[in-house]
């Protein structure tokens, strides 16, 4: 049997087809909704998407130096390193003219960059530039540019300086990422390990990772009972206790960090009490700060509220009757907790854990102050390169890796727990 459907269109009272009218209304609604969120969208694009995009671009960008020494780099690529110890005459000649005629500021920027590839480039180029300008002024034309360079400074005859060009000859380069992982390019442009004495990034990465995981775990262990207590006490007590959680939360980070130094140092409060109690001898005072232990302790305390608060808000809405029901049905308290209560707190644990971990992995001030010899995290190095060496490419690469780690974690979390399982209240 066939169903017949009327082909005549449904019309609204003013004669416009209903479909069209509905679509129009819907479009208007969508537009209104879009206009409402538009400021937020713009805000996110300007303050979040663009800076991160810019950072990621910087981490692979080497175009500045390529615009200063285009001919030198072009000629450099023709150098057969197996056959000749030093680059061909054309390389020296191009460099001569690019130094003689280049814009002073652009060269200044380029040599800051060159110095990342090999320490010493800065002075070498500056001294050489001065000499070259003198030669040009006198109107002399060198017979051999190579010999002129080597005469100005013997380092121009040192192939290791030239090998470092490998790190810069391309507009787009992965060198900063390799540097961030203790690696560099050798004379053939292959990735090799950095000089053993200065390898520290991998170690710092692992430490950053380790400290963040530990801090998250400690916060969970310490925060869970507190949150549970807060959620189950009568309101007037829990409000009072809540102040103990919030007061440190509102206190300046620096004050809390300094307080920990006073507590933990060898002549500090804790060591003093332990010696007084006779637990340790006066000579055996424990080093608890200016090392990794100090970083762990201080960061755990500082980040604790970020674990307690989401846990608390999730626990508060778990009906107490659930535990009673479980026990009524024969579960021992431990079993009831494990099978009934804990699963319901997962959204809070997830939110708190993720918050603490994200904050910890990029932490800077506290590790800087209490970290001492082996408690500094990767954030300190990002700050160092941002401010002191101006190696923003490396900064961006370090930041990029940090972002990558976070995304991996987010993905893992989503696979295992599910992102819709996260709750802040």
């Amino acid at each position: 049997m066939e169903v017949t459907i009327s082909t005549a269109e449904l019309l609204t009272t003013d004669g416009i087809p209903l479909k069209q009218s509905l679509r129009k209304a819907e479009r208007r609604n969508k537009l209104r909704a879009f206009l409402l969120v538009f400021p937020l969208l713009l805000f996110i694009i300007v303050t979040f998407v663009m800076p991160i995009g810019d950072m990621l671009l910087r981490s692979v960008d080497d175009s500045q130096i390529n615009s200063v020494f285009p001919n030198t780099f072009e000629e450099y690529k023709n150098w057969d390193k197996g056959a000749d110890e030093l680059p061909p005459e054309e390389v020296y000649k191009s460099l001569f003219f690019e130094l003689a005629n280049g814009d002073k500021r652009q060269i200044g920027k380029a040599l800051t960059r060159m110095n990342y590839a090999k320490s010493g480039w800065k002075s070498l180029i500056k001294k050489t530039s001065r000499e070259i300008k003198k030669i040009v002024k006198k109107g002399e034309e060198p017979v051999s540019y190579k010999d002129t360079f080597i005469k100005i400074n013997k380092f121009w005859g040192d192939p290791t300086y030239w090998y470092s060009f490998n790190q810069m000859v391309n507009d787009r380069s992965s060198i900063y990422y390799w540097n961030a992982l203790d690696r560099t390019f050798d004379e053939d442009g292959d990735v090799v390990l950095q000089d053993e004495k200065r390898r520290m990034y991998i170690k710092t990465w692992l430490r950053t990772f380790k400290v963040s995981v530990y801090v998250t775990i400690f916060c969970l262990i310490l925060g869970f009972p507190v949150a549970h207590l807060l959620a189950n006490l009568p309101l007037r007590y829990s409000n009072l206790l809540m102040i103990f959680v919030l007061l440190p939360f509102w206190t300046s980070l620096l004050v809390r960090t300094t307080a920990w130094i006073v507590m933990l140092q060898q002549n500090g409060v804790i060591n003093g009490i332990l010696v007084w109690l006779g637990v340790i001898s006066d000579d055996g005072r424990i080093q608890m700060v200016y090392n990794e232990a100090g970083t762990l302790i201080a960061m755990t305390q500082i980040l604790l509220p970020f674990m307690i608060l989401p846990l608390y808000s999730v626990m508060r809405v778990i009906p107490k009757s659930h535990m009673r029901a479980a026990q009524n049905l024969g579960a021992k308290p431990a079993m009831a907790f494990w099978r009934v209560y804990l699963p319901q707190t997962i959204p809070g644990i997830s939110a708190g854990g993720l918050l603490v971990f994200v904050l910890a992995i990029g932490y800077f001030i506290t590790p800087e102050l209490v970290g001492g010899k082996d408690g500094k995290l990767i954030g300190s190095w990002i700050a160092y390169h941002l401010k002191t060496t101006l190696n923003w490419g490396l900064c961006a690469a370090l930041g990029g890796i940090l972002l990558g780690i976070m995304l991996i974690f987010y993905w893992l979390y989503n696979k295992i727990v599910g992102i819709d399982n996260i709750k802040l209240g």
Binding site: K109, K122, S123, L386, K387, T389
Partner: protein, 367 residues
């Protein structure tokens, strides 16, 4: 338009031009900036036209301002290595001709740059964009009460834990520590920069010396920490900024002793930001702040030494120079006899090798 909005626009239109005409100086804050305010701004012909703003050092923010074209700092107070890099990169404006023309000569008619060279300094490209401020130093200090018997008085003692058992406080970056270790290894202080620059393996030697005390080091990272460390007895001696030690002695009644041998002198400069909104007024203030008189004046409020050699006699001949009738000379790092046992840190060398050595230093600390 609401009344409030109108009022707001009116106020901002009226006040913004005034706010913009003040010369903004970015400096390190705290007691240091306070001393600059008193010594340079308050003695200036128009004190209210100078505004200090705090920053944390480094060229990061300056570069961001110059690259984005929205420069708000006219003058930046920087370390010499940053003066060099900033001048090379064009973040600071080359004002060498203005300096030659407008700076105040010394008492014997020597130019400002000659006056600086008389203090053991050598020309570097930072001098084209910047005027000198003060010498500050990484100096070892201790509490004499902690040493009832013999007291340490050399770098060899600082790096000798058998002779003087106990912990030492050292900062978490390499500048200053490397040079001191070289002195402990027998290099004459004045020769340290040359040896570092020219001798292969000099750095390795420094690290070997540092190995001797490594297990007895507490590493600090903020300028106030070494004072706390020594005061609380956490360490028996520490490297610190000499201004902090001077302040503790002069204002807090402490009795700390300095070990001047092997002190590492570093410098501060005022540099003109490229594209500074108040360029001419800023240059005028820079010339005022770099007179020997103004630099000597600063020593009243913080024990950093004038970078112009002719500033020292002004203090010496007018003792007690400090407020409340205290002598300042015992705390000045760059008297002629102390310069003989000092290292003048070589900023060009540090801007060449700083990154590499600091990475190595970090690896050394963590091992």
């Amino acid at each position: 338009m609401s009344k409030f909005l109108k009022a707001f626009l009116f106020v901002s239109l009226v006040f913004v031009p005034f706010a913009a005409s003040a010369v903004t100086v970015a400096s390190w804050g705290g007691a240091y900036t306070e001393s600059q305010q008193k010594a340079y701004a308050d003695t200036y012909s128009d004190p209210s036209s100078i505004v200090f703003e705090n920053y944390n050092g480094g060229l990061g923010e300056v570069r961001a301002q110059v690259e984005s074209g929205s420069v708000t700092w006219d003058i930046v107070d920087v370390l010499p290595s940053d003066a060099i890099t900033g001048c090379d990169e064009g973040l600071f404006e080359d004002i060498s001709s203005e300096i030659a023309e407008l700076s105040t000569p010394g008492p014997d008619g020597e130019s400002m740059l000659e006056d600086m060279e008389n203090n053991g300094l050598e020309y570097h490209s930072g001098w084209d964009c910047c005027v000198p401020q003060i010498f500050w130093t990484y100096v070892v200090f201790y509490d004499p009460d902690a040493f009832p018997g013999e007291k340490p008085d050399s770098m060899a003692d600082f790096f000798d834990t058998e002779k003087f058992p106990g912990k030492r406080g050292i900062h978490t970056w390499a500048t200053g520590v490397i040079e001191k270790a070289m002195v402990a290894d027998g290099v004459s202080p004045n020769a340290v920069p040359t040896v570092l620059a020219n001798q292969t393996g000099a750095i390795d030697r420094a690290f070997e010396v540092m190995d001797r005390i490594k297990d007895d080091v507490v590493f600090w990272s903020a300028g106030s920490q070494p004072l706390e460390l020594v005061k609380s007895g956490e360490v028996i001696m520490a490297i610190a900024y000499n201004g902090r030690v001077g302040a503790a002695n002069l204002a807090e009644g402490e009795n700390f002793e300095y070990i001047w041998e092997g002190q590492v002198l570093d410098q501060e400069y005022l540099c003109l930001t490229a594209g500074a909104p108040n360029r001419d007024a800023a240059i005028d203030f820079m010339m005022h702040a770099s007179t020997p008189e103004a630099q000597a004046e600063q020593a009243k409020y913080i024990t950093y030494g004038p970078m112009r050699a002719s500033g020292i006699p002004i203090i010496e001949n007018n003792e007690p120079w400090g407020p409340g009738g205290v002598d300042i000379m015992p705390h000045m790092p760059n008297t002629p006899e102390r310069l003989k046992v000092s290292i003048v840190s070589d900023p060009q060398w540090w801007s060449d090798y700083g990154a590499e050595i600091n990475e190595r230093y970090a690896a050394w600390m963590g091992n």
